[in-house]
Symmetry: C2
Subunit: 335 residues, 2 copies
C-alpha cells in the first residue's frame, strides 16, 4: 500500500494565498480503530468558504499551520472496523486533503451510487446543492414573477439558484465574469439574462437587465457588487448573503455606504446563510434536486482537476474565479 | 372664526434644517365639501421620519417648497359634511401642520376617547406604539431569555420596544444620551441596563451591558452605533431597522465597514421596518397595548410644547435629540 498523501497548511494566510502557504507531504497510512474506516479518496471538493478557515476567522474554527487542510471528500472504504460498513462502499466525509483518510464511521454519510454520478454528491446533490435549495427557497422566498438576481452565476451554487428560481416561475438574471461563463449561464443554464461584472458600469447593466427591479438577490460575492445591487432592490426585497468571495482576501474591511437607507426605504431584508442550519431538511432537498435532475430541469457543470498534489494550485485558481463550474479534484478511480 | 394657521416648507433642506426652512402663515379657513370635515387641531405629532419627507428622499413622497408640512394630528370636528360624523367628535388624520384642517372623512380615523388620554392616540396607542409592537414582535421575534438592545431608548418607539421585550421575558438594554434619559430608561421604563452613546467607548460599554451578546437589535439611529452593535450580535440575531436619525441630516452617505461578514458569520438578519406594512394588525396591536397600559405594565412619556407656531423650533429640537419622550404640539383644547 502506498503512503497517505496529505496537504497541510504551512502558514497562516494574510491577503491573497500563495502556493507556499501549503505543503504536500507523505505519511504512513494509519490503521483504523474500532468504529473507524480506512478509505481511499476519490473526489475532493474545493469551496470558497475554505479561505475563511485558513485566516482564523471562520465560524467552523481555524486551521493551524502544520494541520491538515479541511474539506469534504467522497471515498471508498478499504478497511472497515464498523459493523455497518463493508469494503467497497462509498462514503462522504469531511476527511480533508488526503488520499487515504481514516474516518469515524459516525461522521460519514453513505453515498447511494444510484442517485447520480458520484461527483454530484459533492455538488448538486451535496453541500452546494443544498445551499442553493435552502438559501433560495427559505431566505429568498421567491414568488412567481419576481426578479431573482444571482452573483457567481456560473458557480456551483449560483447556477443552481438561478435554475431553481426559473422552476419557481421567476425572471432570473445572473452576474458572471468571463464571456464563456456568461454565455453558459443563459444558453445552457437557461437564465433570462446575464451581466458581466467585468463590463463597465455594473449599475447601468443591472438596471437594463432588471427593468422591474430586484426582488431577490442571492449573493455569493459581497463587496462593491452588493453595494450596487442594494441601490436597485424593490420594496420588500430579500437578500441572502451566502458568500463574499470578493472580500475573503481583504486584510482589513473595505468601507462602503451603509445599507440602512436601502433596507429602510424598501423595508427589505438581508440574511446570512449557512447550509448547516438547514440540515434537518437535507433529505427533502436532495430528493427534490434529484427529481429535478431526472426530469431534465436542472443542469450542472463540474471543473475536475486530477491529482491531490494539485489542490493548492486549484484552490488559488478558485479564489481567482478561474474555475468554471463546481471545483473538484479527482484523487482516485470513481469506477 | 379665526384664520387657519399653517406651517409651510419654505425651501428644500440640505444638511441640518434651520428655522428659516419653514414659514408660519395664516390663511382663510376653507369650507368642507361633501364627504369632508372641518376640524380644529388639538394635538400634532412630530416624528423623526418627517426629516426624510423634506429632503426629497422619503418613501411616502417629498414635500415641495411652498407646501404644507405633513404630519398626523388629533382634531375635533367642527363642521361635518359626512353622515358618519357629528361636530364634537375626535378624529386622527394626516392633516399636516395647520390649526383648522379640512379632512376627507374617508382618510380620518375616529378616536375612542375612552381608550386613554387623547394624546396617546399619537403615541403609545398610535403610530409609534404600533411601530414598537409590530417591529419588535414581527421582525425581532424575541424569545424569553434573549438580550434585546434598543437605541433611542427613551424615545416614543424605543421606550415601548424595551418594555414589550421585558413583558416577553427578555433581558433589555437601552442606548440613550443625556443622564436624565438614561436614568428614566432603567428606573421608570424598567430596562435592565442602559448605555449612553455619549460616554466614551460604546463597544466596551455594550460588551459589559450585554455579557451574553445581542440577540435582537431594534435600531432607531443607524450610523456608527449600528456598526458597533453588529460587531456584538449573536448567532441568528435579528436587527430591525426602524429609523436612522443619526443619518437623516447627511448630505452624502457615510462610509462604514460592510455588514456582510457580521451577517454571514452569525447567519443573522437585518430588515427595514415601516409600520404601514402591519396595518392589518393595527386593531390587535392597539388592543394589546391598551390592555398592558391598563395592567400597569407599560409606561410612556410625552414632551408637549404649546402652540402650532412653535412647530419648526420643536422639530429642530427633536432632530437634535433634545426632546424627552414622545414629541407633541398642543394646538387646541383637549377637554
Amino acid at each position: 500500500m502506498t503512503d497517505n498523501t496529505r496537504v497541510l497548511l504551512k502558514r497562516r494566510c494574510e491577503g491573497v494565498p500563495v502556493a507556499g502557504d501549503f505543503e504536500v507531504t507523505s505519511a504512513v497510512v494509519e490503521s483504523p480503530a474500532d468504529g473507524q474506516l480506512l478509505c481511499e479518496t476519490i473526489y475532493l471538493s474545493l469551496d470558497p468558504y475554505l479561505r475563511g478557515r485558513i485566516s482564523g476567522r471562520h465560524i467552523s474554527g481555524s486551521v493551524q499551520p502544520g494541520e491538515l487542510m479541511p474539506g469534504e471528500a467522497i471515498s471508498r472504504v478499504t478497511t472497515s472496523r464498523h459493523p455497518d460498513y463493508v469494503p467497497g462502499e462509498l462514503v462522504a466525509a469531511h476527511s480533508g486533503w488526503q488520499s487515504q483518510p481514516v474516518i469515524d464511521a459516525a461522521s460519514a454519510r453513505r453515498i447511494d451510487p444510484g442517485i447520480g454520478p458520484l461527483s454530484t454528491s459533492l455538488g448538486i446533490l451535496g453541500m452546494p446543492g443544498l445551499t442553493a435549495y435552502a438559501g433560495l427557497l427559505r431566505l429568498g422566498e421567491p414568488v412567481a414573477g419576481d426578479t431573482v438576481l444571482v452573483s457567481a452565476a456560473s458557480g456551483a451554487v449560483g447556477s443552481l439558484v438561478g435554475q431553481i428560481a426559473k422552476i419557481k416561475g421567476c425572471r432570473v438574471v445572473g452576474i458572471a465574469g468571463a464571456p464563456e461563463k456568461c454565455a453558459w449561464v443563459t444558453h445552457v443554464a437557461g437564465f433570462d439574462d446575464v451581466v458581466s461584472y467585468k463590463s463597465g458600469d455594473l449599475r447601468e447593466a443591472l438596471d437594463r437587465a432588471c427593468p422591474d427591479g430586484i426582488d431577490v438577490y442571492f449573493d455569493n460575492v459581497g463587496g462593491a457588487t452588493l453595494d450596487t445591487v442594494l441601490s436597485l432592490i424593490n420594496l420588500h426585497a430579500r437578500t441572502a448573503i451566502c458568500g463574499m468571495i470578493s472580500e475573503y482576501n481583504l486584510t482589513a474591511p473595505e468601507l462602503a455606504p451603509r445599507v440602512t437607507r436601502a433596507l429602510l426605504v424598501n423595508r427589505a431584508r438581508m440574511q446570512g446563510l449557512l447550509v448547516h442550519d438547514w440540515a434537518d431538511r437535507r433529505a427533502e432537498g436532495i430528493a427534490q434536486m434529484a427529481s429535478w435532475i431526472k426530469a431534465g430541469e436542472l443542469v450542472y457543470k463540474e471543473d475536475v482537476i486530477d491529482g491531490i498534489e494539485n489542490m493548492p494550485a486549484a484552490f488559488l485558481r478558485l479564489l481567482r474565479g478561474e474555475n468554471f463550474g463546481k471545483q473538484l479534484i479527482k484523487a482516485g478511480d470513481p469506477a
